[in-house]
Point group: C2
Chain length 262, copies 2
C-alpha cells in the first residue's frame, strides 16, 4: 500500500463512497489532482484507471472524469418461458401484437427495432457436445439483435442454434425473412410438432471482448453476463441451444424457483 497511485485511488474512492463526490459530479482535472497530491499526471491517471475499472467513474474525453450514475436495469425473468409457451398457441393476431421483450421492458412493439439473420452451418465440438449429437450435424444458426428505437445499442446479442433436420419439415423456418415470427421460438417449433418441456440456463460473467463492448456500447469497466440456454422437448431431445450476451450493468436476471410443499 506504499504505492502512490493506490493511495490516490483510495482517497478518491473514499470521497465517492462517503458522498462527498456525488454521482454525476466532475472530478478535478487530472493536472489539478496531480498538483494536489504532489504526483505526476500519469500517476494520477493510473489511480483514475483503477476507479474506472471498478465502475466508479467514467472518463469523458475533453470533458473530464465523472462519478458514474447507477444504470437503469432491464429485468429478464425465467417466468418468460412459460409465458412464451402459453402464447405460442394463441391466435396469430394475438401473437403478433406483442413479444416477450416488449412485455419485460414495458415498451410498445413500435418502440423496438428487431433484426434477425440466419445462416446454415454444422456443429463444431462445443455445439455437438451441447446438443449431444455428432460433430458435423447440420444446424441453423440464427442471430438476433433487438434494441430500443431511441437508443443505438441493442439489449443483447443472441445466437440461437436449431437442428436442421428437426425443423426441415417447415421450410418457412429456414428463412430469416419470416422474422419476427409471431409468438417467438416456441411458436416456430410448434409448427413442426415440437413442444418444449423445460429450459436450462447457465449463467457466467466475464469482461466483454472488444467486439461485444463495441456492439453493446459498453464503457470500459463493465462486465457481461453470458447465458447459455438449452431447450429440451417432451421427448428429451435438445431442440435449441442459445448463446446470449447481456450487458452486466444494465441487466438483471430473475429466476423464481417454486418448492414442493411439505
Amino acid at each position: 500500500m506504499a504505492v502512490a497511485y493506490e493511495r490516490i485511488a483510495d482517497q478518491l474512492r473514499q470521497s465517492i463512497r462517503a458522498g462527498q463526490l456525488m454521482p454525476g459530479d466532475r472530478l478535478p482535472a487530472e493536472a489539478k489532482l496531480a498538483e494536489e497530491f504532489g504526483r505526476s499526471v500519469p500517476t494520477v491517471r493510473d489511480a483514475l484507471r483503477v476507479l474506472r475499472d471498478e465502475g466508479l467513474i467514467e472518463k469523458q474525453h475533453g470533458r473530464g472524469n465523472f462519478v458514474r450514475r447507477p444504470r437503469t436495469t432491464t429485468v429478464r425473468t425465467n417466468l418468460r418461458h412459460q409465458w412464451e409457451k402459453n402464447r405460442a398457441r394463441r391466435s396469430l393476431e394475438e401473437r403478433a401484437r406483442t413479444g416477450a421483450t416488449e412485455r419485460e421492458t414495458g415498451l410498445d412493439v413500435d418502440d423496438l427495432i428487431f433484426h434477425a439473420a440466419y445462416r446454415e452451418t454444422t456443429a463444431d465440438g462445443d455445439l455437438a457436445a451441447a446438443f449431444g449429437l455428432p460433430e458435423g450435424t447440420p444446424l441453423l444458426a440464427r442471430f438476433y439483435r433487438t434494441r430500443c428505437a431511441a437508443e443505438s445499442a441493442p439489449f443483447s446479442l443472441v445466437t440461437s442454434y436449431l437442428v436442421r433436420d428437426l425443423i426441415a419439415g417447415n421450410p418457412a423456418l429456414l428463412d430469416a425473412a419470416n422474422e419476427p415470427w409471431p409468438g417467438g421460438s416456441q411458436a416456430q417449433l410448434s409448427t413442426v410438432g415440437i413442444e418444449v418441456d423445460r429450459i436450462e440456463e447457465r449463467v457466467t460473467a466475464r469482461p466483454p471482448t472488444p467486439e461485444e463492448a463495441e456492439e453493446l456500447e459498453l464503457p470500459p469497466g463493465t462486465s457481461v453476463l453470458v447465458l447459455r440456454k438449452t431447450s429440451i422437448d417432451t421427448r428429451d431431445r435438445i431442440v435449441d441451444v442459445s448463446h446470449v450476451v447481456l450487458p452486466g450493468d444494465r441487466t438483471e436476471m430473475l429466476f423464481t424457483t417454486p418448492l414442493e410443499r411439505w
Copy 2:
C-alpha cells in the same frame, strides 16, 4: 485504430486466438516486445493491460506475461433449493453428513472449511425495501465463507439477513456457535415453524470491488456475479434476504425452468 497500443494488442490477441500462443505460454518480455514493435515499453504495457482486462493474459511479477488458461468452474444449480428443502426434515445424522456445497462440488465434508459470523443489526433503506418491512426492523446478519481446504480463497461471499422477530422463538438460531447447522438455512427456519415456498434469485454482473478482489483472490480482469436471493414462505412472508458474491470466472449458475405441458 491508428493508436499504437491498440495495434499491438490486436496483433497479440490475434496470435492468441489463432493458437500461435497457447494457454500457459509466456509472452516475450515487455522490453523485447517494445523493440519488436518499435515502441516504448510503457506503450507495450498499455497494450498488455488491454489484454489483461479482457482476461486473455495474466501478469506475473518477475516471471512474465502468460496466456491465461480457462478456469475450472463450480456449478451452482437452483435444484439445490428443493434438495435442501427435502433434506431439512431428514434425521439429524443424515443432515450432518453432507451439505449443498459438498453435493455440488463433489467434495467431502472434510475437504471444506466453513466459517460463519453473526451480527444483530437493523434494516436500512435497501434491506427494508427487500423485506417489505419498515426501516429499523431488527435483523440478524449472517456472514458465511466456505472454501476448499486445499485453496485459500473462498467460493463465495455470502451475507444472509433474517428477521429477528421471526426466529427469536429459537434462541439457538441467534448464536453463530451452532454453525454449521445440520441441514442448512431451511432446517434452521423449520425449527420456528417456517416453511419456504419459493425462492427468487436476481443475478447481475460487475467488476469486483477491491475488497472482493482481495478476499476472493481475483486476478485483475475478472468479473463477479452478484446474486440477491429472496426466500418467501408459505404465508407469503419474506423470511430471508441473501447477498452472494461469486467469482465470475470460476462459477456457473444453472437454472432449470420446467414448463407446463400442453
